[in-house]
């Protein structure tokens, strides 16, 4: 932003308070002044929203302009001279503040905002000091809950409209609005319609007074006893930057940090309030070892010994291939690397999967050309072949929504049901579950006339193809798993078809779990090794360091669960994974846990799955450990520790290292810094990305892997430039927040950097092509009596975070079967009726609802909601799940 452009007409010269500087034409005076260190007071203006000029606090004097224009609605102009501190301006500020305080109750001592309140601060800095108003103030009922998460105190409101504008402009959920007139103007929800936005917590963060407060934080702490650290949210894989705040060693609040490439200061409510799970009383705080039917508390050494003995016995008796690892997508990169090294480098098993068959094959995620969120928001067109972003990656939804609404990006949606993005999409192609490949083939075929494919009409396909263009130039594909009830391989195959037809298209993975991308990068998937290389391609590179490696590719999650159910996998290590609730096919998951002779669970809570384990090792949660995490773009950012873990809980990488030692191996690190140093030395996509590089100020938004050395720009810089840039940087002392111990490890790294500046000898990174997804069995022909299941997800589900967050747990909806009204009519059903739903697995009784967003022939049931649901119905051995829906009577 501070770059000076050379041609004159690109900037204008303005003078504010005697300081002359260049500003971009169209930039607002308030923003330009702030960039140059002149703070103009404001309440309603927010840099991420459109200006309205409602609060009148930013009035300034501009030479040649009559009156006092607001700085937040006035764009800079050539030669403009602005004064922000003249007596006239001061008088106006005094007046505005005195007016605002007329009706503002002075209950600052009981207000959650007191101490960090812009109204307080600006009254001290710019206010009149005394009020002449002695009459009774306006009164409203004190706080009213406008949702489960947000309380509204209308007495404190100063009508800046930040919240209503946020809800309308940014979130697209205009559920709050001004009502009444004059001094009775108030923000309210519509009758019987609470503020159930997934983004409601942001209004609390941007409220310049204490009118909106968060119920989970209400009276928990006061600003001056908060201690904070910047970190990255790991609720989903968007990787929003946050401030993690604690009081008395308890996490009490999370605030969004404005990260330009990622979250623009916004957070979703699940991310914002999910910290409550960390503080939940039900955490596993000590290791547990099964004695008979019970899990008994044990010491760490007993538990390690029991776990190691169980794993070693299986290895010795059945071979390493009989050991499998599931999960690991919730930790840090260091945790994931440690587990990958334990599984592949010590035990030599490749049956490792950080996803539970609810994502996409690792090769597809790692091997397709990657786009960043910014790339997607600036693309010519976005093809969305993935989940409901609003439900699974809410802040990515906000970013894309903004790109559509303000940037005019064309979104083509391709999915089995309409989503939160549908109303912003240029066109939505609803395909029959399991037939994404056919649609992708047709879409990229360029044929005219376009034939029907996968349940999508030819005309619709032609219109979509027209928007996306022919060669995929400027197209970003947001790629995820649209429905857990259809095989991820078909989606990956569809992506491969698109990539083959449109070589210029780039892909932004839309996977869900916190650090699933980091876990994939660190090799927690079958057939890959850390740093985005294939098992065979990386064999030589890694065997020098790791010693042993698996002989051949192992099983993915579906394979592991299937093999465990049949007794071919004898030992199962669950890394925070709860297959009973998260694996698409619950029946199979139950059989797998029963079939595996020995189960070790590394978990934070006793879940349905970890209750079945023989050894439970308690792991540290988010906020209790430091390290790095990787978001959907491949952006590596730091996560930091804020509180100490309860009981004797340990970080995953420590558990992995201790287990390795008892299994006769040595992971070779003794701190998170040492783990990262090894990653930055070994993992081909991360070579050179040392703690030192990550700690630099210019990298505070993280560094996107694959790391290609220093110096702008990525992809284009020739090697000489990168070397030159590196040489320049070495001479400078750059600010570094490197973890203790990092510098020496960084020093160790340098030789490998110097030996290998352009990557000679390093194994090539993975690529993904048509056919790499493995066998994609065609779905069976549609049975006229059956409805095909679509299982998307809801933001508030039955997952560990939501279930253990007091304020979120109640928000998970109860499962309802949604179908097209046409299909319901056909069955003689209406919304609210209860029906018997039968799949090849089981029969459930559920309530139905009509939904025109579900195509005819399909039926939608969200995955992983409390109680019985989609997981009971899904048959994981089939590419799709067909249901019979019958009336109950």
């Amino acid at each position: 932003m501070t770059e000076q452009t050379e041609t004159k007409k690109d900037t204008v010269t303005v003078t504010v308070d005697g300081k002359t500087f260049e500003a971009a034409p169209g930039e607002l005076v308030i923003a330009a002044a702030e960039r140059h260190g002149i703070y103009i007071p404001r309440f309603c203006w927010h840099p991420r929203m459109k200006p309205v000029g409602m609060c009148r606090m930013c009035l300034v004097e501009i030479e040649g302009v009559r009156g006092l224009p607001p700085a937040c609605t006035t764009p800079v102009a050539e030669g403009m001279v602005v004064d922000t501190r003249t007596p006239v301006v001061k008088k106006a500020q005094d007046g505005v503040l005195e007016f605002l305080l007329i009706n503002h109750p002075l209950d600052c001592p009981v207000c959650d905002r007191g101490g960090e309140c812009p109204l307080q601060d600006q009254t001290f800095s710019f206010g009149p000091g005394e009020s002449r108003f002695v009459e009774e103030k306006r009164h409203f009922e004190k706080p009213i809950a406008i949702s489960e998460l947000v309380a509204l105190d209308r007495e404190r409101c100063i009508q800046c409209a930040r919240c209503t504008r946020f809800a309308d402009e940014v979130a697209g959920d205009p559920l709050i609005s001004f009502v009444d007139r004059g001094d009775h103007t108030q923000v309210l929800t519509f009758p019987d319609d609470p503020f159930t936005s997934y983004f409601s917590g942001n209004t609390v963060q941007i409220c310049p007074v204490g009118a909106l407060t968060a119920s989970p934080y209400r009276f928990k702490a006061r600003p001056w006893d908060l201690d904070q650290v910047e970190s990255t949210c790991s609720t989903c894989a968007v990787g929003c930057r946050v401030n993690l705040q604690s009081s008395q060693n308890d996490l009490v609040r999370m605030l969004g940090v404005d990260s330009e490439p990622v979250n623009h200061s916004w957070l979703c409510d699940k991310g914002r309030f999910g910290y409550q799970a960390v503080e939940h009383d039900g955490r596993v705080t000590h290791p547990l070892v099964r004695k008979g039917d019970e899990l008994i508390e044990a010491s760490w050494s007993e538990a390690y010994a029991a776990a190691a003995k169980g794993l070693a016995d299986v290895r010795d008796l059945h071979g390493a291939g009989a050991i499998a690892f599931l999960g690991g997508a919730r930790g840090t990169n260091e945790d994931a690397y440690a587990w990958a090294k334990l599984a592949k480098g010590v035990l030599a098993t490749d049956s490792v999967d950080c996803q539970l068959d609810d994502g996409l094959p690792a090769a597809a995620v790692l091997g397709l050309p990657r786009a960043t969120i910014d790339d997607a928001c600036r693309a010519k067109a976005v093809l969305l072949l993935g989940p409901d972003l609003k439900e699974e990656l809410p802040v990515l939804y906000l970013r894309l929504r903004e790109a559509v609404v303000d940037g005019g990006v064309a979104v083509v949606e391709l999915g089995p049901q309409s989503t939160g993005m549908t109303r912003h999409a240029k066109t939505t192609l609803l395909y029959r579950p399991g037939e994404a490949v056919e649609v992708a083939r047709a879409l990229t075929s360029g044929r005219d006339p376009m034939p029907d494919a996968g349940g999508v009409r030819g005309e619709e396909l032609a219109a979509a193809a027209g928007i996306l263009g022919r060669a995929g130039e400027g197209v970003v594909v947001v790629l995820g798993r649209p429905s857990v009830a259809e095989s991820g391989r078909t989606v990956a195959e569809a992506a491969a078809v698109i990539a083959a037809a449109w070589p210029q298209a780039r892909f932004l993975p839309a996977l869900r779990r916190g650090n699933v991308m980091g876990a994939l990068d660190m090799g927690l998937a079958p057939g890959v090794l850390p740093g985005r290389v294939g098992l065979d391609a990386g064999r030589e590179w890694f065997s020098q360091e790791w010693g042993v490696l698996p002989e051949e590719p192992g099983l993915d999650a579906a394979g592991i669960v299937g093999a465990a159910a049949e007794g071919r996998v004898q030992a199962l290590v669950l890394l925070g994974a709860d297959p009973i609730n998260d694996f698409p096919d619950r029946t199979l998951a139950r059989r797998a846990l029963a079939g595996a002779g020995f189960v070790v669970a590394v978990d934070t809570f006793l879940t349905d799955s970890s209750r079945e384990a023989d050894v439970v090792l308690p792991a540290a949660m988010y906020g209790e450990k430091a390290g790095t995490t990787t978001n959907i773009e491949g952006r590596v950012t730091r996560v930091n520790q804020k509180v100490t873990a309860p009981g004797t809980v340990r970080s995953d990488w420590i558990i992995a290292a201790e287990l390795a030692q008892r299994l006769g191996g040595d992971l070779g690190f003794d701190s998170t810094a040492a783990v990262w140093a090894e990653i930055a030395r070994l993992a081909p996509s991360h070579v050179g990305l040392t703690a030192d590089v990550l700690g630099r100020r210019e990298n505070r938004d993280g560094v996107v892997a694959p790391y290609e050395g220093e110096g702008p720009p990525r992809h284009e810089a020739p090697v000489e430039q990168i070397e030159a840039a590196a040489a320049v940087h070495q001479g400078e002392t750059l600010p570094s927040e490197a973890v203790a111990g990092a510098p020496e490890h960084a020093a160790v790294d340098e030789p490998s950097d110097d030996d290998d500046p352009a990557g000679a000898g390093r194994p090539p990174l993975l690529t993904f092509a048509v056919g790499d997804a493995g066998s994609t069995a065609a779905p069976p022909a549609v049975d006229a009596y059956a409805l095909r299941l679509v299982a998307g997800r809801r933001l508030y589900d039955n997952g560990v975070t939501v279930r253990h967050s007091a304020h979120l747990a109640g928000l998970a909806p109860s499962p309802r079967l949604r179908a097209n009204p046409y299909d319901l009519d056909r069955l003689g059903l209406g919304t609210g009726d209860r029906v018997r739903v039968t799949s090849s697995r089981t029969t459930l009784t559920l309530e139905v609802a009509a939904d025109t967003g579900i195509p005819r022939g399909s039926v939608a049931l969200p995955f992983n909601l409390p109680g019985e649901g989609a997981a009971d119905l899904i048959d994981g051995t089939q590419p799709v799940t067909d249901l019979r829906v019958e009336t109950t009577n």
């Binding site: 209950d107 001592p109 009981v110 007191g114 006061r222 006893d225």
Partner: protein
């Protein structure tokens, strides 16, 4: 003679009035604004004045105060308003009796008594909880078994507040800017801030002489 010269000071002292007293059997009256053990006050209707705002904890230079607020139960509110002090603890091993908490308190909930004579045999006992700090039903500080209270020491728990107000500005002398207290009602202001003894009402029952005599300035 030279021998007795050395005793001159001693003999002179023999005939001067004695300044030492037989502490602890005998005690000096304490200064009017002596900073002793804290009390948490109540309003006349018995509601607690503390609203759990933590300003005392925030200002405390010794970090000895721990406060946690909670929503007032709607059917049986503990304090007026939305929040009350759910936890209130002072660690007297840390407290330096600087009275900044008293100055910071927006509701005059926390003030100090004259009591400094209390001791503990373990660290846990040094942490006074809300139960111990809160005044009794008659508005008087609770006399805890290990504390050595003397006659009248529990009467002047809000002397500092009543000296001047607001914010210690002597111009406000004589103006009542505080709320009523359980057991006392609205206490009168303290006189003499501007060097003019008639400017305000006299302090209730400690005489000016007593103050002059007992004050170690």
């Amino acid at each position: 003679m030279g021998y007795f010269e050395g005793f001159r000071v001693t003999f002179e002292q023999l005939f001067r009035p004695r300044v030492t007293i037989q502490y602890p059997e005998e005690k000096r009256p304490k200064a009017l604004r002596f900073h002793g053990r804290h009390v948490l006050n109540k309003y006349e209707d018995g509601m607690e004045k503390c609203i759990g705002c933590e300003l005392c904890a925030g200002v405390c230079p010794a970090r000895c105060i721990h406060v946690r607020g909670l929503d007032n139960p709607p059917d049986a509110p503990v304090s007026p308003g939305e929040r009350y002090g759910f936890v209130y603890e002072i660690n007297y091993l840390r407290c330096i009796h600087c009275d900044l908490c008293v100055e910071a308190c927006p509701t005059e909930a926390i003030t100090e008594s004259k009591l400094f004579e209390f001791s503990f045999s373990n660290r846990q006992d040094a942490i006074y909880t809300k139960d111990e700090l809160l005044v009794a039903d008659d508005g008087q500080p609770k006399h805890l078994p290990w504390e050595d209270w003397r006659e009248g020491e529990d009467l002047h728990t809000s002397a500092w507040v009543r000296a001047t107000a607001p914010n210690g500005d002597a111009d406000y002398e004589g103006r009542v800017a505080w709320s009523a207290e359980l057991g006392y009602g609205v206490r009168p202001p303290e006189a003499g801030q501007l060097g003019d003894d008639d400017a305000g009402a006299p302090i209730d029952d400690i005489t000016v002489e007593q103050v002059a005599e007992g004050g170690h300035h």
